[in-house]
């Protein structure tokens, strides 16, 4: 299939994010442009503070004052007319999914896990009441939770880090968003748990016709699971392209250093 025939799911032109604090303006993302085709998996790589989290927050409309987002064109799922006053809440959940960094903080401590699924269900009217219980169990099983009944009846603080992150992923995928963003989904997990979780996660994404943008500083994850990658440095895209191009033939000095550093770490 010719790639130009494929549907463009995300098209960004000159997107900037700045933070205003006490009279000084700190740019986090500087004039970024890129686009993404449907069913691709894009990895955004960069060191801490390179603006990768700010970038995907901005695309989700989650940047709040004192952060300011500006762009020439932001085209999500071929919807034109997204401007600075656009109400993202219409798209959220069903079309845009977001998986944040810290799994514990991402779950409201006053509700049981099943209740949080019910909130998503109520908002997007996915299943009727008789199905819902089974669907919650199925969603939890999908992300590799061995005892879904117990987990759905627990509070977030009763779960381990890996479990909580699986629940967050299951919640974000519950409404089957077309475009899913994951902001360092495996931070703070040990390597074996991380591998299992990512395997489950990527199977889920592949089986449900989702497009994924994953932010990480782990080159291994990107190399193994993604088709495309973007390398960010100090708020700018220094390199973008297919995985093969970036890993086998990196052009930018920073990318070369990054790959060299991670291969040294392995050897």
């Amino acid at each position: 299939m010719n790639k130009y025939n494929q549907e463009k799911i995300l098209d960004i032109k000159n997107l900037s994010v700045t933070y205003h604090s006490g009279g000084t303006i700190v740019p986090a993302v500087k004039n970024i442009s890129f686009s993404l085709q449907k069913n691709k998996m894009l990895g955004i790589i960069g060191e801490t503070g390179s603006g990768k989290s700010s970038l995907i927050r901005a695309v989700n409309g989650l940047i709040k004052y004192p952060g300011v987002t500006s762009f020439e064109k932001l085209d999500i799922l071929s919807k034109n007319g997204i401007d600075n006053t656009f109400d993202f809440s219409k798209m959220r959940g069903k079309e845009l999914g977001f998986i944040p960094q810290n799994p514990f903080g991402s779950l409201n401590p006053v509700y049981k896990i099943s209740k949080q699924f019910k909130f998503v269900n109520k908002k997007h009217k996915l299943f009727n009441k008789d199905q819902l219980g089974n669907e919650i169990i199925r969603a939890l099983t999908e992300v590799g939770i061995a005892d879904p009944e117990r987990v759905s009846n627990s509070y977030s603080f009763e779960l381990s880090g890996g479990m909580a992150q699986r629940v967050v992923i299951a919640l974000a995928c519950f409404a089957r968003p077309k475009l899913l963003f994951a902001d360092e989904p495996t931070t703070g997990l040990d390597v074996t748990v991380e591998r299992q979780l990512l395997d489950n996660f990527f199977t889920l994404v592949n089986n449900n016709d989702m497009t994924l943008i994953i932010v990480t500083h782990d080159l291994g994850i990107v190399a193994q699971y993604c088709n495309e990658a973007i390398v960010m440095y100090e708020g700018e895209i220094v390199e973008k392209g297919s995985i093969e191009k970036i890993f086998l033939n990196p052009e930018h000095v920073y990318t070369q250093k990054l790959i060299k550093a991670s291969s040294e770490e392995i050897s």
Binding site: N60, L62, F98, P100, S106, F119, A172, A175
Partner: protein, 272 residues
């Protein structure tokens, strides 16, 4: 009933006791048949000590102190509870608005700063002196004193909760602004809020007593703990201690009861 008694344990016994005390003080006036009417004087029996017919003794005009101490609870607790409740209801939306990072939020906080620059008790006295000496104005003063407290507390609590990740996730899942406030923000600050409401009520009892002690707010012959202490204070030196001690004790145990309940709410809330 037996099941209820079985549930009493070391932890909740003080709370149950506090509730019983507060119930008796607030509704005692409607329940009990007093041996001596709280509003009729018995001038022959004036200044008689506790015992022989008068449980708490009588005051300088022959009022029965026991029935008046119970009856005063009705009015004093009503003023402090209703004042606190209204202050909470006004402070809650104000605090939530002030926790938003907007220009209006800054304005709200500036007005509150202005309010808090006054000593609160003096402010209450000024309000009652300005608008007339009646119970409605005392309640109004209590409300005005407590709104800044609630607003500040709710703002600071909401600020921390608002920053938490799960609010952002709820937004990313498509929850509306009102839904986030009602389903995610409020349940997370509710425990602190109820505990503060209980403490504030206790504090309001003291303020009401202080106001009626200096002779504003509730005026005789209507009974109130503050005015009873005031009346008794002249007789402390001559040996008639019972006139001030019993209403003082009533203030003490009602404040203690509210604080116990507040502690209990906070502890329960921290457990979940």
């Amino acid at each position: 009933m037996i099941n209820l008694i079985k549930k009493i344990n070391k932890q909740n016994a003080p709370v149950i006791l506090s509730c019983i005390v507060l119930f008796n003080l607030s509704f005692g006036a409607f329940i009990y048949n007093f041996a001596h009417d709280p509003y009729t004087t018995d001038i022959i029996q004036r200044l008689s000590p506790p015992g022989n017919g008068f449980i708490f003794g009588t005051d300088e005009v022959g009022f029965d102190i026991f029935s008046r101490t119970i009856i005063a609870g009705k009015i004093d607790l009503f003023i402090s509870l209703s004042g606190t409740l209204v202050a909470l209801l006004v402070g809650l939306p104000l605090g939530l608005m002030a926790s938003d990072k907007t220009k209006n939020a800054d304005r709200i906080m500036k007005v509150l700063d202005m309010f808090q620059a006054f000593p609160l008790l003096v402010l209450a006295i000024v309000i009652v002196a300005m608008w007339g000496n009646n119970i409605r104005n005392v309640i109004f003063a209590i409300i005005l004193i407590n709104i800044p407290r609630f607003t500040r507390l709710i703002r600071s609590e909401a600020l921390t909760v608002r920053e938490s990740r799960f609010i952002e996730v709820a937004t990313a899942m498509g929850a509306s602004k009102t839904r986030i406030i009602s389903r995610h923000l409020l349940p997370n600050i509710l425990g602190t809020l109820l505990a503060q409401a209980s403490i504030t009520t206790a504090h309001s009892i003291v303020v009401v007593a202080a106001l009626s002690f200096i002779g504003i707010g509730v005026v005789p012959p209507e009974a109130s703990w503050g005015s009873m202490i005031r009346a008794g204070s002249q007789y402390m030196m001559t040996g008639q201690w019972w006139m001030s001690i019993f209403p003082g004790l009533a203030i003490f145990i009602s404040v203690l009861s509210f604080n116990t309940i507040s502690q209990y709410i906070l502890r329960k809330y921290e457990q979940i």
